[in-house]
């Protein structure tokens, strides 16, 4: 893509800042050649035929790259674009066609690949409340609420807009341009003329400040730290190879559910999935500056991982597996002696025959006060599956019966504060546009 040379900032730094700012202004900054009309060029692989698009919106893994160990490498830049219907009541067929055509325009414009564009459209329970009809029994999509006993519904926001488009690409300009194209702020996208947008049917939900953006990938957190623009950063250096704020690799193949596993099995939405998005504040200054590496590994994996130095500086020793199943049966006894349990150890208790039930597609962000945060986006067959794993992670019974406290020494709970939760149905592609509860 064409980018201006800039003397004082690195290209990547500038682009990430542009994703966070977002909108036409962010995109202009991104390309440095705004004419005010939202026609800035991006240079991504073209989309072409729609015939070979997968039936499942969440089928990204086949096109995503793999890291040196074979783990799926998520796209680097993300936007969660929230929309609501402009009109009250239920959407009509023409609204549905407009939304579908706008999404097809995205697909025609940009290829389904990491340097192109990956996206899903997910619908909230509030959207389906517009209809008299109920969702089929195959779909478990409750209203979002507090999930663990540690949460206070007064301090958490719950998503009640209609739908969220999750846009992802290794090229930050692409996610920004795609968002603007959906909003109707661009006439062309990647050289393709946008004949249709969401304009008139859907509008951006929430305040501009609520835009949800983020990034993930080796080196990006360390780079953010070097730039010094995010508050709440540690004095300690985040490892160069770390993809997440917390400084360790995550999303190992052995810890991730497959795209098939998280599918809804039956009914009109078969092939779809459910999505939970939990936004967290992450206290990485405490994590890095007050805890030692040994303590961090004890709290993230298990004390055995720490004692045996299984992890390495940032998880580089782990290959495709955390090896957490060795420690999972000892979780309750570890909570009593030595009195510390690992996050991975707790969560793995909810695996079924060793199979992890969640497909994580989480990414780093900044939250209130420009502090480090995470959009923990997880796909699973049912929202109740997410809640089950999340409660295992909270480890209430470990605090009741063990030496670990409700947060202290209880995995990484000490460093996390839940700010926002949302539940979504991600339908199969055939029903991705303003579906009725039983299409």
């Amino acid at each position: 893509m064409t980018l201006p040379d800039r003397d004082d900032v690195s290209r990547r730094k500038f682009l990430q800042a542009a994703v966070a700012v977002g909108g036409a202004a962010g995109l202009s900054a991104c390309l440095g050649e705004s004419d005010g009309g939202g026609t800035e060029r991006i240079d991504a692989p073209a989309g072409g035929s729609l015939d070979d698009r997968p039936a499942r919106q969440h089928a990204w893994n086949d096109v995503l790259e793999r890291d040196q160990d074979g783990n799926v490498r998520p796209p680097a830049h993300h936007v969660l674009a929230d929309f609501s219907l402009v009109a009250d009541g239920t959407p009509g067929d023409s609204d549905r066609e407009t939304v579908e055509e706008a999404l097809r325009e995205l697909e025609r414009a940009i290829a389904l690949q990491p340097d192109g564009l990956l996206f899903t459209v997910g619908y909230t329970p509030a959207y389906f409340d517009r209809f008299d009809e109920q969702l089929p029994d195959d779909v478990d999509l409750p209203d979002p609420g507090p999930v663990t006993y540690l949460e206070n519904s007064e301090t958490i926001a719950f998503d009640t807009h209609d739908l969220t488009v999750h846009l992802a690409s290794d090229d930050p300009a692409v996610v920004l341009a795609a968002e603007e194209a959906l909003l109707g702020n661009r006439e062309t996208l990647n050289g393709h003329e946008m004949a249709t947008s969401f304009d008139g049917v859907l509008e951006r939900a929430g305040e501009p400040d609520d835009r949800r953006t983020g990034f993930v990938g080796p080196g990006l957190p360390a780079q953010k730290q070097d730039e010094g623009e995010v508050e709440g950063m540690p004095d300690h250096d985040i490892a160069e190879g770390a993809p997440f704020w917390m400084g360790y690799r995550s999303g190992f193949q052995e810890s991730q559910a497959t795209e098939e596993y998280v599918e809804i099995e039956g009914g009109a939405f078969a092939g779809g999935t459910t999505q939970h998005v939990e936004t967290l504040r992450v206290q990485i200054n405490t994590w890095f500056d007050q805890d030692s590496h040994h303590e961090r590994v004890s709290k993230l994996f298990s004390h055995v991982h720490a004692d045996e130095d299984r992890v390495g500086e940032f998880g580089e020793k782990l290959g495709t597996s955390t090896g957490i199943m060795d420690a999972v049966d000892d979780t309750a006894t570890d909570a009593r002696d030595p009195g510390v349990v690992g996050h991975a150890q707790k969560a793995a208790r909810e695996r079924e025959d060793g199979v992890p039930p969640l497909l994580r597609r989480d990414f780093n962000t900044t939250v209130a006060g420009n502090l480090p945060g995470v959009h923990f986006l997880a796909l699973q067959d049912e929202i109740s599956t997410f809640e089950r794993v999340r409660r295992a992670m909270a480890g209430e019974e470990l605090a009741e019966n063990g030496a670990v406290s409700v947060r202290q020494n209880n995995g990484i709970l000490q460093y996390l504060s839940v700010l926002r939760r949302g539940n979504y149905l991600v339908p199969p592609r055939a029903h991705r546009s303003l579906p009725t509860p039983n299409p």
Partner: protein, 392 residues
């Protein structure tokens, strides 16, 4: 059976400083009561405390520490300068907040002790203690209390402070935090319902979260006040077994004689209850009939700090019961609980319990709470406690 006429146990559990006639203890008390005099003399050259307006130095450089402290609770080098931010009640919760200058502390993670230095951006040490508004019993937050600091409507800091133990403040939530220069700050405190079992009149009392808001002005006048309030212990009295007097707001657990049920395991047999000890903790033990309403005897174990009588949460004691040399119950977990009368303790209803039984109470994990100076060398390897039960 224990009755009310049994003498109190001031010597071993409550205020050793008052009851002990040893000259050194009296000297400590005197030095502390004098607050200013000895302190200010020692203060010369020590004002460049981190966050206190100085350049370059920090509290670890300028505030004295105790070299080679003993492996027990010991008298620290000084009493911290503290500014109370007030007390706010919300439902059953009483929140008391305080600020001090940032200072070092120690984390306990499983069996590991790790010192925490003062971060480059740390300005103050923020502390919040939570008690039951009616009984004053300490409610351990277990790290679940959250503090959000705002200035002019913007979030400056948002964290879950550590559960900490300090001779001055008792059990509290605290951490060093960075601010955004001089100005007005608002601290919002939220706490979810405690996860510990709630017994007595506490059952059902803490079903909802509590919150409170405090404010303070961070400026030179606060920094001066905090520095002025530092009170130094005479050098000869530092590092000896003992403790400084807690603040009035520090929550203590009851005297053993005020625990429900019949005390067990008296170590001296002199008529005053002298509790078993483990790595310098006093471990008061009682058996109470039908305490949980299940018709079974309740074994109540109440480990507390010596001298200041603070609770020691973050352990997982378990009891093995033998009768005539045969094990009748092995490794029975004692669950952490909060109670209107007994305060924080560990306990279990055990039907099998009989007078004459030999109990071994093991505490494999040390109290998983962060430590202020004077507590970092004690309660790290908790030896098991052996008790032969008397009548109850």
């Amino acid at each position: 059976m224990m009755d009310d006429s049994q003498p109190l146990d001031e010597q071993s559990d409550s205020t050793t400083l008052e009851a002990d006639s040893s000259p050194s203890r009296r000297a400590i008390l005197g030095g502390l009561a004098g607050a200013g005099a000895a302190g200010l003399a020692a203060l010369a050259g020590c004002t460049d405390i981190r966050g206190m307006g100085g350049d370059g130095g920090d509290a670890t450089d300028s505030l004295p520490t105790v070299e080679n402290p003993p492996d027990v609770v010991y008298v620290p080098s000084h009493r911290e300068g503290v500014e109370p931010l007030g007390t706010v009640n919300d439902g059953p919760y009483e929140f008391s907040a305080m600020v001090s200058y940032a200072h070092p502390f120690w984390l306990v993670t499983g069996q590991t002790l790790e010192s925490v230095e003062i971060g480059d951006d740390a300005d103050v040490h923020l502390m919040v203690a939570v008690r039951d508004a009616e009984t004053g019993q300490t409610i351990p937050a277990g790290g679940a209390l959250r503090t959000t600091i705002e200035s002019a409507g913007s979030v400056v800091d948002d964290r879950n402070p550590w559960q900490m133990l300090s001779q001055q403040m008792g059990l509290h939530a605290g951490d060093n935090v960075g601010l955004d220069g001089d100005g007005e700050y608002e601290v919002t405190v939220t706490m979810p319902p405690p996860a510990h079992r709630q017994t007595g009149s506490f059952a059902g009392r803490f079903d909802n979260s509590g919150s409170a808001t405090f404010s303070f002005t961070y400026d030179q006048s606060l920094r001066d006040a905090l520095t002025d309030r530092i009170s130094y212990v005479d050098e000869s009295d530092r590092g000896v077994p003992g403790a400084i007097e807690p603040m009035g707001s520090a929550g203590r657990v009851p005297l053993p004689t005020d625990l429900p049920g019949t005390l067990q395991g008296d170590q001296t047999g002199t008529g005053t209850y002298d509790p078993p000890r483990s790595d310098d903790a006093n471990v008061a033990i009682a058996v109470a009939d039908d305490y949980l309403g299940d018709g079974e005897p309740y074994l109540l174990v109440s480990p507390r700090t010596p001298y200041n009588r603070f609770p020691l949460p973050g352990m997982a004691p378990a009891v093995t019961i033998s009768r005539d040399g045969t094990v009748v119950a092995e490794d029975r977990a004692l669950q952490a609980a909060i109670d209107d009368g007994a305060g924080f303790h560990y306990g279990a209803s055990i039907a099998a319990l009989q007078p004459g039984d030999d109990l071994t109470i093991e505490m494999p994990a040390p109290p998983g709470v962060a430590r202020h100076q004077g507590y970092e060398t004690a309660f790290l390897e908790m030896a098991s406690v052996d008790v032969t039960l008397g009548e109850w």
